[in-house]
Symmetry: C2
Subunit: 197 residues, 2 copies
Amino acid sequence: MRDRKSERHARTRAEILDAAWETARAEGLAGLTLRDVARRVGMQPPSLYSYFASKDAVYDAMFAQGCREFLEGQARTALTGDALADLKAVARYFIGFCTENPTRYQLLFQRTVPGFEPSAESFAVSEEGLKALRGMLAGIGVTDPEALDLLTALGTGLADQQISNDPGGDRWIRLIDEAMEMYFAHISKRMKAGDAP
Amino acid sequence: MRDRKSERHARTRAEILDAAWETARAEGLAGLTLRDVARRVGMQPPSLYSYFASKDAVYDAMFAQGCREFLEGQARTALTGDALADLKAVARYFIGFCTENPTRYQLLFQRTVPGFEPSAESFAVSEEGLKALRGMLAGIGVTDPEALDLLTALGTGLADQQISNDPGGDRWIRLIDEAMEMYFAHISKRMKAGDAP
DNA sequence: GTCTATATTTGGATAGAC
DNA sequence: GTCTATCCAAATATAGAC
């Protein structure tokens, strides 16, 4: 039988989490306060403690949610089998994910929040996301660790510049395809050189 | 005649600034407090106000100092006239500058400090640094805006990954030369294609 | 210039009534 | 579960003595 009570509890929890994201977006991730979150959901600050044990627990829930969103979106990214096309698709997904919500990007990929460390459980979700990404790239044929590192640098660089220097625009998003063509040409040449040195 | 008083004042100011850097490195940039800074220089917190009008003024002085350091290091970067070699030298300088002091990197290039905005004066110093960088790259032959954007993405991406995922190591620093070779091959091809489309 | 004392604000967290 | 009342700590900043 359905547990109407815990359903309601979960719903309210989700509502608070939404409010926390809005607040973080407005005030900056480090500037998040429970007071602001409470005001946004129409509660008094102490009432939040029925849903989250501490402010850090809120950060942790946001972190876990962000990781899940990353995984879900990744599962929806359709691959064709054509290496270059798939490389572009993965890059577009990753950079799109980062730029569409810079606050989430900051929480997940940069470590700039005061004293926050994700819980072991949340961290496991995060690891799963990275593993899935590596799996995708292995399917494309990118398995060499250095080639992978170069690719992640390119991806985060494009995302970071877009967020920092043209928020809301597409100045670096426009360069994704060109960047992937450059990268693909490079690793193709490297592989050939590796076959016959 | 020398003004011993103002010399002493400047010296103490510099000492406080050093302490602020140490504190920021230890507690995180956003976690900087005047209490900690004061303790580190052996003063009571209110005494700092003889040297800085506010906490923001401390951030601003740190920002300006970082920009000056960037400029000075850049002036010392010797170029040879060989485009690829110079590209590598500039990249090594930039990424070295970022990774050798992640706190400074965060203050100058990311915008993650609570409510801090650099003053107009400090911001001007920052602009000068970017202009010098652009000038250097123009000397190498990189003037196309999109080629420049791609290069900055590569540079910040390498620096960012190095800082975030291998602090103190050289996992991405090792890739600088390869990345610049990849980039150079790409823009060479592009230029040729542009000449005879 | 430096100190003590203090004002003020802010924000996380708890106690206990309803 | 939610509220009011409150505590406690931290941190910026000011006033005024020395």
